[in-house]
């Protein structure tokens, strides 16, 4: 290795220095420090947020709202209207004088919906609301609420249930005979007698002697699809034209008449309707799927309704995707259904947590929103990773105040890692090429494609599939290539080229619109995995009626095209109306997915050290071959081969190729107006994707406009950020730059010390740096600090240098070389939003204090971390320790001198092979059953061979007993009976033993579903999972709990749910010394002689089981029965005869 290579190697250490200090941050931006506000400052009630958002005049509690009394979430029922409000806080419910019930989904008898018949209308509502609607001022009409096998869904209620028949209602006004066409109930209310009602007769009937003449004109009725005749008195008569909304016609008024008119849509404006009413379809800005959605693109749903095309944009940032399913109709036409549903990209990253690659691949392939990317660089750098089909969008600007009012840096804001930074960094990978070198050259023996353009292209593809990362295009096809970097270490070695302009231009094709592409809705298997709490409803109920099948063709009636897919696959399944959502999510648990991708890749690309002898044989053979070609002498060539073999003149060369994936950067040339042109609403994200100078005005008003900021032609000017410099250090002005010096003596900075420094840039800009003064901005691969890729007024970096003397032995360096290595010069270039770059780089000069390495090595981090738990019965454990400089390490169960320690570690001492945490040492700790405390010491490789004076004490904790699941609820063979469907219940577990006295995280699986229990911080020995939508049936559920040490406990339960949601049916009514009736189940029956029957006010019949008796009277009985679950049967009327 040349001197310059060593120099560059040492310099390259700084590149990741800031990561060492900021790589342990949590990705969960919410959680910590949250309180429950009874009301926020903005007036929203019961929100879990940070304390400063709370209205201080009202209650707050340092916990989630669901754990508080005042903001308990449940069901709020109106005693007035009988309507129910789900997911309501107790506080708001009581404030409005509602009745609060536990259970946020209102799965209670009072909220059970049935079919309410209000005269000639029907409504799917609660029983109490049915009564309310019947008793209102303007009606006071007879109502009937029923829920039975024939009226079990809203569709059946609205379309199939028989309503009250209409007829002519006759009455006198001022001596004149008048007539209205209405129901019997209305007629009785108006005239006081049933005798005035002529059933099935129109007012124009000549026998009725009215002045009304038949069929005077055609008209529509409010909310009705058909055309009706109306008589001269304005009364509805028979149907004139049979329109069918579901087949595309609807009653439309003309000047003095009405007719069935088409409600299909002419979307291409050629005068011919091409989309049916109720049809919905998707459109996209460019390519969708395959990880190629352009930055700023948004999926759009189109709906044809009543002859008008509507646009419904899916959620921005591609958080929702528009999925489409086309069905072939009997008439040969295609009918499209679409929905915006949640993009499950987070799951794709989460799948990489699977330890077995095959399992990850299997899960990934089953999820239509994911795809498996295989990267193969002809060697150990080969891995598979599960990536999003539809990469998510990220915020393209870092719009937070990073400078405090006093001019100092707001560190918390500045160092807060953005989602884009974190997710894109998943594709930041190092490929190490291994070369076997001999006297006559080198042969690549591992990862030999890493220095080719194949590596750049493949890694960039990986990078852009993660989200708005890497070099790619925006939705109008403008590319930028600032989102990635490739770097070779040691410098001077052959490395992969950057993407060429033709490579970048090739991306433009992905901005072309293609009407034939559509996002895949997914199948039932996939659908089941999305929301185990709610989707079970899909599984039961049978037999679609022909009407329902007609309705199904009419698009969104069932809420989602996904259901159509399910129905297509299995015609025997049918879900409740509206019970299915395209947008169900429950994915907050996937926040740890990002780190899992990294570790998954790391596990797959584990590189083995090549065995020297095998390859030296090859080298010697090559040496011999070359000698033969040159000399044409077999003897000389054999001698050359022999010498090569005997003296082992071969060595291994490692070339590191780093691919850095960072968030995608908007192009310099801003075409902001494009955002205002198209039919898709312009949002901040969409606007900013069009260029660095694009900004959205009138945000959130509905009148948003994307405008170009004034072009600033000024070149960026860089100065030091005075308020940011580590204590003890100072800036010293030099020509066109700054020197960082020790404040006490203007000398060099101390080795192994992190020095924070910053620059100010005006106009605001992105900044990069390099150790080469001649590098252009594009050539510079390292961002200046963690926010180097954002246009900001300041950029901060941390410098961290080892002592160059530490490398003396490894590289046989001279004193002067060591001193020279200690002098550091960096060059910074920044690029403004207008694309202007400072022509002369800004110089940052510093040096590491020369002199012998007197500092002993230090263990930076251990894995498993100190004080970690061991699972029950563990006797050996693999452990990894990272040291801050190349060292040799040993361990022992007692605190001894380094040389006396019994056990050695396998440590990396090559200065080139460093990680983000330092140099890696691995070992296997043994005898853990007897001892869990270990002492570790390291000796560095410097001239002084510094040894740690104090041992690093590494303590582990043993599990004293196995983890157990002691209690499972519902219990085995428990039978749960409910009067409402679906049923809400809680899975409850109690765990004990293990590492932390039963504290564990649990998950469940069963009946094709599965999910994790929510972690409850204070009582994690008890676990609850609320299942809100269980249907009748048998359930077998397995539970698996795992504690922090990896102890696993399993248990299971089997239970059944019986639903009795229908009221008792009256089988027979007869005379037997009174009125007698029998019911199909035990019931309480009541009767009344009033048409306006009310169960609570009616007379109780004798008998509480199957037979019920009442007095015999020659009057019309109105009878209703109720079972023990408060389900009421249909009211029947019976008139005894003599």
């Amino acid at each position: 290795m040349s001197y310059s290579q060593i120099f560059i190697l040492v310099l390259s250490l700084f590149a990741f220095s800031y990561l060492i200090y900021h790589s342990f941050g949590s990705v969960d931006a919410q959680g910590f420090g949250s309180v429950c506000c009874e009301e926020t400052r903005t007036g929203n009630s019961c929100q879990t947020t940070s304390a400063e958002n709370c209205n201080t005049a009202l209650k707050t509690a340092p916990t989630d709202c669901e754990n508080t009394d005042f903001c308990e979430i449940g069901c709020c029922i109106s005693e007035n209207t009988g309507l129910c409000n789900e997911m309501t806080s107790k506080r708001d419910c009581e404030k409005i004088k509602g009745v609060f019930k536990k259970g946020s989904n209102c799965n209670v008898q009072e909220c059970k919906k049935g079919c309410c018949i209000l005269g000639n209308q029907a409504k799917w509502t609660t029983e109490a609301n049915c009564k309310f609607e019947g008793n209102t001022e303007n009606k006071n009409a007879k109502t009937e609420w029923r829920l039975d096998e024939n009226s079990d869904s809203e569709i059946e209620c609205l379309f199939n249930v028989e309503k009250d028949k209409e007829g002519a209602c006759l009455f006198d006004t001022s001596g004149e005979k008048k007539c209205v066409y209405t129901t019997l109930g209305e007629c009785v209310k108006r005239t006081g007698s049933e005798a005035n009602f002529a059933r099935d007769s129109f007012c124009s009937n000549s026998a009725l002697n009215t002045t009304c003449t038949a069929k005077e004109k055609k008209g529509c009725i409010d909310g009705g699809e058909d055309v009706f005749w109306f008589d001269s008195c304005g009364n509805k008569e028979e149907k004139a034209d049979d329109c069918d909304l579901f087949k595309g016609t609807y009653c439309k008024k003309t000047e003095d008449s009405a007719q069935c008119k088409s409600v299909a849509c002419d979307t291409n404006e050629d005068g011919i309707p091409d989309r049916e009413n109720g049809e919905s379809w998707c459109s996209y800005d460019g390519k969708v799927g395959g990880g190629k959605d352009p930055a700023g693109s948004r999926h759009m749903q189109h709906i044809c309704y009543m002859g008008t095309e509507r646009l419904a944009p899916c959620a921005d940032f591609r958080n929702e995707i528009c999925v489409q399913e086309d069905t072939q109709l009997e008439n040969g036409k295609t009918f499209s259904q679409s929905a915006c549903r949640v993009n499950q990209w987070r799951l794709c990253l989460d799948y990489n947590k699977e330890k077995a690659v095959e399992k990850m691949v299997d899960k990934c392939q089953k999820n239509p929103d994911c795809w498996v990317k295989s990267i193969d660089m002809a060697g150990s750098f080969s891995f598979k990773v599960c990536l999003p089909q539809y990469p998510p969008g990220f915020e393209l600007n870092f719009e937070q105040d990073i400078i405090n009012s006093d001019g100092s840096l707001n560190e918390e804001t500045y160092y807060k890692t953005s989602a884009g930074d974190q997710i894109c960094s998943t594709a930041t990978q190092r490929c190490t090429e291994i070369w076997q070198c001999g006297l006559f050259g080198c042969i690549c023996i591992d990862n030999c494609k890493c220095h080719t353009e194949h590596f750049t292209k493949e890694m960039n593809d990986f990078c852009i599939s993660l989200g708005d990362c890497g070099a790619y295009i925006n939705y109008i096809g403008e590319y930028s290539d600032g989102g990635y970097g490739v770097k070779v270490t040691p410098k001077g070695e052959a490395g992969p080229p950057r993407l060429s302009s033709s490579d970048l231009n090739a991306f433009k094709v992905f901005a072309n619109k293609d009407n034939n592409q559509k996002a895949n809705p997914g199948n039932y298997e996939f659908f089941k995995t999305l929301n185990p709490e709610q989707l079970q409803q899909v599984e039961t109920q049978n037999n679609l009626s022909s009407l329902e099948q007609d309705l199904l063709k009419a698009a969104g009636a069932y809420g989602s095209p996904l259901l159509l897919k399910i129905l297509t696959e299995d015609n025997n399944t049918f879900g409740n109306l509206g019970s299915l959502s395209a947008g169900v999510i429950g994915m907050s648990r996937y926040t740890a997915a990002i780190s899992s991708v990294q570790s998954s890749i790391a596990a797959q690309i584990e590189q083995e050290e090549p065995e020297q002898h095998d390859f030296s044989m090859i080298i010697s053979m090559i040496a011999g071959l070359i000698a033969y070609i040159i000399t044409q002498s077999l003897i000389i060539s054999m001698m050359a081969a022999l010498l090569g073999f005997l003296f082992g003149i071969s060595w291994i060369k490692k070339v590191h190729i780093d691919f850095t994936c960072t968030p995608w950067e908007p192009p310099d040339e801003s075409k902001c107006n494009e955002c205002n042109k198209l039919e898709v609403p312009c949002t901040e994200y969409r606007c900013e994707s069009l260029g660095s100078q694009c900004t959205l005005i009138n945000k959130g008003t509905g009148n948003e406009l994307c405008v170009t900021q004034p072009v600033n032609e000024t070149l960026p000017t860089i100065t030091q950020f005075e308020s940011v410099i580590t204590d003890g250090y100072a800036y010293k002005q030099i020509e066109n730059g700054v020197e960082i010096v020790n404040a006490s003596d203007n000398g060099c900075i101390e080795p192994y010390t992190s020095v924070q420094m910053g620059i100010k840039v005006e106009p605001f800009a992105r900044c990069r740096w390099s150790n080469e003064s001649k590098d252009s901005y594009e050539d510079m691969t390292d961002l200046f600090g963690p926010k180097g890729n954002y246009i900001l007024p300041v950029h901060i970096n941390k410098l961290f240098f080892p002592n160059p003397e530490a490398f003396k032995n490894f590289y046989n360096l001279t004193e002067s070389q060591i001193e020279e290595i200690g002098k550091m010069n960096f060059f910074v270039k920044c690029k403004t939003a207008s694309g202007k770059v400072n022509p002369t780089p800004y110089q940052i000069k510093t040096c590491v204090r020369p002199g012998p390495d007197l500092t002993p090595p230090r263990i930076v981090i251990a894995s498993p971390q100190k004080d970690s738990y061991l699972s029950y019965g563990t006797d050996t454990k693999e452990a990894v320790f990272y040291v801050n400089e190349p060292s040799e390490c040993r361990w022992d169960s007692g605190d001894k001198d380094f040389d006396l320690m019994q056990n050695t570690m396998n440590c990396e001492t090559n200065p080139a092979v460093f990680t983000h945490y330092g140099w890696k040492c691995t070992t296997t700790l043994t005898g853990l059953q007897n001892n869990t405390k270990f002492f570790i010491k390291c000796k560095d490789t410097s001239e002084n061979k510094n040894i740690m004076s104090e041992s690093f004490v590494y303590d582990l904790k043993a599990s004293k007993s196995p983890l157990k699941i002691d209690e499972v609820i519902p219990r085995i063979d428990e039978k749960i009976i409910s009067g409402v469907e679906p049923v809400s219940l809680k899975f409850r577990l109690r765990t004990s033993g293990g590492a932390e006295q039963g504290k564990a995280t649990c998950r469940w699986e069963g009946n094709g579903f599965g999910d994790s229990f929510r972690y409850q911080e204070n009582s994690s020995t008890t676990h609850e999972y609320a299942v809100t939508s269980l249907l009748a049936g048998a359930y077998t559920i397995s539970f698996i709990c795992e504690d922090v040490s990896g102890n696993i406990a399993e248990n299971s339960t089997s239970f059944t749910i019986d639903i009795d949601k229908f009221g008792p049916r009256i089988n027979r009514i007869y005379y037997d010394y009174g009125l007698k009736l029998t019911t199909n189940e035990n019931a309480e029956c009541r009767y009344s002689f009033s048409r306006n029957f009310e169960f609570d006010n009616a007379t109780k019949m004798s008998g509480a089981q199957l037979v019920h008796t009442a007095q015999w009277r020659l009057k019309t009985y109105y009878i209703q029965c109720q079972d023990s679950y408060k389900n009421k049967g249909t009211i029947i009327s019976v008139k005894p005869n003599l």
């Binding site: 007036g43 409000n85 997911m87 959620a315 509905g702 009148n703």
Partner: protein, 270 residues
Amino acid sequence: MDAKVNKKNSRFDSESIKLFPESKRSQVTIFIIIGLLFVVSIIIIFLLINPPEVKILDENNPQAFIESCTREAVENALEILSEQGGDITPKGYINFKGKEVSYACYNFNYFQPCINQRPLLIEHIENEITNYIKPLVNDCFIQLENKLEDRYDVETTPLYLKTVLQSKNVAVYIDKKFKMTRNQESREFDNFKMIMAHPIYDLAEITMEIANQESRYCNFDELGYMILHPKYDITKFITGEADIIYTVTEISTGEKLTFAVTSCELPPGY
């Protein structure tokens, strides 16, 4: 200009025909008069097109006066409520197209389903209308008293008022005794009532259904709902911040209710 005019009309005898007065003051006066006539005629035309509503008081039927006056107050209230998510003074709202639109269902946190912010919306709107119209209805009675005070002695009791929303209409019940006495002849009125056709009850019910579905499924399928209930039109606008603005319209009357929902908001990134 005067010179030009005089020159143009030079064939007329300026002494005998004084079409344009010579003094400037007179000219200005004429211009003012013409201007005033113009303004007055505009006002007359405007009044003919849009005559002001004159509340005619039938002494035998003061209920009609109160009903008309109350109706006007309720209409104003409904206009505000329908644009602001059912609130007269929105609390917990989003600014949309210049209006403060209240959240019917809201959750600050990413991924979390919304919490119902206006449970029992029908009762809430009843209260809002009552609070809004109460002082206005009181003014109605004061106006009535003022109109009658020349001819009658008027005695009243405090005002109690109740608003009831029902399907397709809004009813206001006013409990106030109003006694008119003249020449020892008294007439007493109480229990005034105003019922007007308005679909606010039905629109509020749909709003509650949308809030329920958003809180349960993080979604409401407006197309499915409209196909089953073609009387109503529901539009959904998703802002860049993932707030949803719903507008529910009863097609036959054109009456609307606009409200906002933020449920299961998904962050950019994780």
